[in-house]
Symmetry: C2
Subunit: 249 residues, 2 copies
């Protein structure tokens, strides 16, 4: 069985490590500059840990799951061992090892929220066919949804994912902020939110758009803009409404 070293101890490293281990893969070591986090994850994976890449154990694969801006620096310290990073936004060629790849799980991770990766798309890229095949086998051990894509596609998908996940979550956040000022529980909106998402199973989002902006109802839009006191939220209401109007002209 392949011996895997995880470099990083953040959200992605944690969830990948746990899933890989659960599915019987051999996680040998966690290396993270944050020693406490490294220990926490290593304890969960029952493996060795270190805060120094010089202590890297002999492995078959290194998975680098660190902040985007730190990937290049880490890659420069990695010996000639097959290596992948897990970022949506960083090119394959950040690493020049003989076997270099990308292993990008298209999901939103929070350390303390368990997630089953079996439906999560794992986006794979490699600098040679043989390594690509090995990465696909590894990915298949944790997910049924494997997608091969190049760095340009992955970057665009990452942007699409930011709109679909990070930005929609921010919309929920603003909702919650508005409701909490009235002491109204945000959970009141959950049936609405669930229905909005359920429609996507069999419809294109643009075809099921509803609301004042979709109807071009400028009177309501202006009323709402006047009712919002926070300048940042006011501007977002205006800009997003304008974009919806433009998309439905």
């Amino acid at each position: 069985m392949k011996k895997i070293v995880l470099v990083g101890s953040g959200n992605v490293a944690t969830h990948l490590g746990i899933s890989l281990k659960e599915k019987g893969n051999n996680i040998l070591q966690v290396i993270s500059k944050n020693k406490k986090n490294a220990k926490t994850l290593a304890d969960r994976l029952s493996c060795n840990y270190s805060n120094n890449l010089n202590n890297l154990r002999e492995a078959d694969l290194i998975i680098v799951s660190v902040s985007d801006y730190a990937i290049s620096e880490v890659m420069n310290q990695i010996p000639e061992i097959p290596v992948v990073h897990t970022s949506g936004s960083v090119d394959l060629d950040v690493c020049s090892n003989l076997h270099s790849g990308v292993f990008y799980p298209l999901q939103t991770f929070n350390k303390n929220i368990y997630i089953n990766l079996s439906e999560v798309p794992i986006c794979i890229e490699a600098n040679n066919a043989e390594f690509e095949k090995e990465l696909v086998i590894l990915a298949k051990s944790i997910s049924n949804n494997i997608v091969l894509m190049n760095s340009n596609e992955r970057k665009k998908i990452h942007i699409a994912a930011i709109f679909a996940c990070n930005f929609s979550n921010h919309m929920y956040s603003i909702s919650d902020e508005i409701l909490s000022k009235l002491n109204i529980d945000f959970k009141l909106l959950l049936p609405l939110i669930n229905q909005t998402v359920k429609k996507l199973n069999s419809n294109k989002a643009i075809d099921v758009q509803t609301g004042p902006a979709k109807r071009g109802d400028l009177e309501i839009i202006n009323k709402h803009i006047n009712l919002i006191s926070d300048e940042t939220i006011k501007e977002l209401y205006q800009k997003i409404s304008e974009s919806i109007i433009k998309h439905h002209e």
Copy 2:
């Protein structure tokens, strides 16, 4: 049993009519200036229809489900019969009948997508306690989730709902637009979207925010902004990222 007349034949009128009828309420007539839509809905409800308010039948309750800007005009033509409108944004006092109220289902409706209203919050307001009680009884026939609120609260909730539903759906729409240029199926993002929403069951949205803006990663944000060619989408990426950064300072 109360005889109900529906004024309007759009998304809300259609879903309310169908749910009320399903739960055994007596829908007597549909009136809509669009005769074809009036007939379509009346056929689904097995009732009379007209395109003229002068033909209004003798009823116990009139539900006015028309565009916000048309509510006032319609209300002026309604005789002294108990009446409600179904809008989130229009004040109770748009109508001066003896029994006036609001019956606002907090949901996103598309005519051809069936929806079970049993979990959908019905927001009730009335100009007297007796009528409020009657509206609550009617609302309970179609939903388990009844909320009493005044016009000010309802307007703010409507704005919160626009962020949580209409604006998040527009985020999905933009995602789809980005992916379709790469011939990638939007369904690839569904596990991510479902997880983003699932987290709301037991977390506050602001506490589970992820992504480059949450991390204050200006390098990635600028990279993405340079990669987006559409000016409207580029500006939204920037403005929403700025708002996330501000909310997490």
